[in-house]
């Protein structure tokens, strides 16, 4: 197990290096000049700025410095807000995105497992059809439409009740989080519902369910104790990759609901060509996702002892 974890971490580090390199190459291909802003800058100041950001050195040297700083976890100083470190920006905005993401993942997992189990329980009856129809709708409608509709729904509810039940946009309280998290989790919820349904149906055909029935166990006990517990396992595996979908899908929800998350900040940074922020955010997100997937794989090994992780290396 320890060997496995070490191997996974090593390959994870190589992956992060690859992400950092790809980001560096991509960033250096971007046309435009990050130091060229509205204010006129004299050549002396410009030279000073270039020195401060290390832009006066040849590109390979810049790359080595960049890698060294990345290894130390130092992402440099923002180009547009020259008194702010990128680390501080990430530290300020990432928790917002992460909170939203975790809440969305919670909604998605809880909803997906519940709905999926329901469709399997009422297979080929109307609850199955209704839920599967909604699932198809959720998969087909773009997230920004749901975000807009969610906002509209809040607005109309507030109008109808005459009180401000939930805030329409912004961040701070739990009330701000509920609808954006629901919208963000919707696509994943649909996906998990499908997965849960097929997993439940697969388990329903197994020998141990037949044995349990033959033993005369109560249907509810079979459903909860045997079918549901075993069907959840495949759903847990995709939670890792789902984190990726949810955190990057956060852009739209953060934009529409005016949530000060890292996704919205990234879009801003791209528009302003803030090199260090773009590179820092990309590498940070990449590393986060890689570690997340590794963590889920390891946890999965503990949950299901039947999986021999040591054999699935590669």
């Amino acid at each position: 197990m320890l060997v496995y974890i070490c191997k996974r971490l090593l390959s994870g580090i190589i992956t992060i290096w690859f992400i950092a390199t790809a980001t560096f190459i991509g960033m250096h291909m971007v046309p435009g000049d990050p130091l060229l802003n509205d204010k006129a800058v004299t050549p002396e100041i410009r030279a000073n700025l270039e020195r401060a950001y290390g832009l006066d050195k040849p590109v390979p040297v810049q790359y080595l410095i960049y890698l060294r700083n990345m290894a130390k976890g130092d992402f440099g100083i923002s180009f547009t807000q020259q008194n702010r470190r990128v680390n501080d920006i990430i530290a300020e905005h990432f928790p917002v995105s992460a909170t939203l993401g975790v809440l969305a993942l919670f909604f998605a997992a809880a909803g997906g497992i519940t709905w999926g189990a329901l469709t399997a329980l009422y297979r080929d009856q109307w609850p199955d059809f209704v839920i599967m129809f909604l699932v198809i709708v959720c998969v087909s409608v773009p997230s920004f439409v749901f975000a807009a509709l969610g906002q509209l729904a809040i607005l109309r509810t507030n109008e109808l009740l005459g009180i401000s039940l939930l805030p329409v946009a912004g961040w701070g309280t739990l009330g701000h989080m509920i609808v954006p998290a629901l919208v963000l989790g919707l696509g994943t919820m649909a996906y998990l519902t499908r997965l849960m349904r097929s997993s439940m149906l697969e388990v329903a055909d197994t020998d141990y369910i037949r044995t349990a029935k033959a033993k005369g166990l109560a249907p509810s006990r079979i459903f909860f104790r045997h079918q549901l517990r075993n069907a959840i396992l495949p759903v847990v595996t995709v939670l890792g990759p789902s984190i990726a979908a949810i955190t990057t899908g956060g852009f739209v929800v953060e934009l529409v609901f005016a949530i000060p998350g890292l996704g919205r900040y990234f879009v801003q940074a791209v528009q302003q060509l803030d090199y260090t922020v773009i590179m820092g955010t990309t590498v940070f997100y990449g590393a986060f996702l890689v570690l997340m997937v590794i963590a889920v794989d390891i946890v999965y090994g503990f949950i299901d002892p039947r999986i021999q992780v040591t054999k699935s290396v590669g």
Partner: protein, 467 residues
């Protein structure tokens, strides 16, 4: 009576060879014929197939039939709801300014009300200008005008302050961004510069109007100097899906936007599936070290945070002046998406490579190109086609998503995503600007998803999505 049958020579003819005894009555079906039969028996897949055909027709033939410039801005008709040609009142190019001043009318003596009386419209209220007039209030130092889109509920709910007038003026011409709808005009008298508590309010329905020269310029009337036309009504351009915030025809934009969205949605998956096929096929066929190295690289590319790199590459590939941004987006999409197909193909090839029929073909002396062309490719094709149909909606989504956050197609090139982005700003007042592009995206994605499901079920019973 007993008759005995006497055999004759003809009874002893040879029967001939029984060649047809084991003949199978029905024509044998090839794999693809079987797939198409199964697909056609699937109602959902059939409907989605028709939807795809309809969409392609809409995209390809649409702009031929509906010859409206998607970039033409009609500032007379901004954010109009879907219509079949609205009527407009023709007005003279230069209308004389009608004004009412305090000197012209007699002050009603002894009136105790501080609210202006007899609030009325002078002439016709049309989209080029609304003139309202009222009777003066004795002793007022001036008047404050308001315009509201809803009926005012009280003195604090009069809407947009339009202007403050001196006491000598008893009329006002409003020309501020008038739309063809009902407005509520309110007038409050001012005493020593302070507003009174009472107000007079008047609902005014604004009519669409067009100046004669403008109507001539658009080819709606023949003669620009024919003043007998003034006051008559004329049918404006038809906008079956309404217009957007710049007065551009939504139907034309949807059609041209479909070209952008479907172009990216179809071409990008085709290209990256082809690249993935070559890469994965090569890796799987070579096996061993080469395979290991190649797939490691593919794993790295998969690990890149997709949307962040989409945005990064999109800007990295640059944008010259006058470009639409479709090219960089296509390139970025291809660069980031091929590994999934490569993995899929490699897995398939590894599996097929061990099949007995490959060994048999090898034994019979088949060359490597023959093996690949005759056995590998056709067997990979099914899985590939399914992944292609699922890749199309994903690509359409990504285009819409990027255009929505302003990182995609550059204006004025229409795309469904950028139309949604424009529409979401006016979502409350003019919902059709968001609804139409959103519905088109959803229907397209839905059609391709259902088609993909149907294809998967038809290709291989083992891969069924349900049951």
């Amino acid at each position: 009576m007993k008759t005995t049958y006497i055999p004759v020579a003809e009874d002893f003819q040879p029967l001939g060879e029984a060649v047809d005894a084991e003949r199978i009555d029905r024509p044998s079906l090839s794999y693809w014929q079987d797939v198409s039969r199964r697909l056609r028996s699937n109602t959902r897949a059939t409907i989605s197939l028709y939807m795809v055909v309809a969409l392609v027709l809409f995209t390809v033939a649409g702009p031929w039939l509906w010859r409206v410039d998607p970039a033409l801005q009609d500032l007379e008709q901004i954010s109009q709801a879907p219509n079949l040609g609205r009527f407009a009142l023709i007005i003279a190019d230069k209308e004389p300014l009608t004004e009412v001043t305090a000197r012209q009318i007699s002050q009603p003596a002894g009136s105790t009300s501080t609210a202006p009386q007899r609030l009325r419209v002078l002439g016709t209220a049309h989209s080029e200008g609304v003139t309202i007039a009222w009777d003066g209030v004795a002793g007022a130092s001036g008047y404050q005008l308001y315009r509201h889109e809803l009926e005012p509920s009280g003195i604090n709910d009069l809407g947009l302050p339009l202007d403050q007038l001196r006491a000598s003026k008893l009329s006002y011409q409003d020309r501020l961004g008038l739309e063809t709808r009902r407005y509520y005009y309110s007038v409050v008298a001012l005493f020593d510069g302070a507003e009174e508590d009472s107000f007079a309010s008047l609902p005014v329905d604004v009519e669409q109007a067009i100046r004669l020269s403008e109507a001539h310029f658009r080819g709606l009337v023949d003669d620009a100097s024919d003043s007998s036309l003034i006051g008559s009504k004329i049918r404006l351009e038809v906008h079956p899906f309404g217009t957007d915030y710049l007065g551009r025809d939504m139907l034309a934009r949807l059609m041209w936007g479909a070209r952008t969205s479907l172009f990216i949605g179809l071409v990008a998956p085709l290209l990256y599936v082809a690249i993935g096929l070559a890469y994965g096929g090569l890796a799987g066929y070579s096996g061993g070290r080469t395979d290991n190295l190649m797939m490691r690289f593919a794993d790295f590319v998969i690990a890149l945070p997709f949307l962040l790199f989409m945005i990064l590459f999109k800007i990295a590939f640059g944008l010259g002046p006058g470009e639409s941004g479709v090219g960089p987006m296509l390139l970025a999409l291809i660069l980031l998406s091929w590994p999934a197909t490569a993995r899929l193909v490699r897995g398939q090839v590894l599996q097929i490579r061990e099949e007995a029929y490959i060994a048999a073909a090898r034994l019979m002396g088949a060359s490597a190109p023959y093996l690949v062309a005759r056995h590998m490719l056709p067997n990979v094709m099914g899985v590939l086609l399914v992944s292609l149909t699922f890749a199309i909606p994903t690509a359409i989504f990504i285009e819409a998503f990027l255009s929505f956050i302003g990182m995609g197609v550059v204006p004025p090139t229409p795309s469904w995503g950028s139309m949604c982005n424009d529409g979401i700003r006016t979502m409350l007042s003019h919902p059709h600007e968001l609804i139409f592009p959103a519905v088109f995206i959803s229907m397209t994605v839905l059609a391709f998803n259902l088609l993909g499901d149907g294809l998967r079920d038809a290709m291989d019973a083992r891969m069924r999505s349900d049951s």
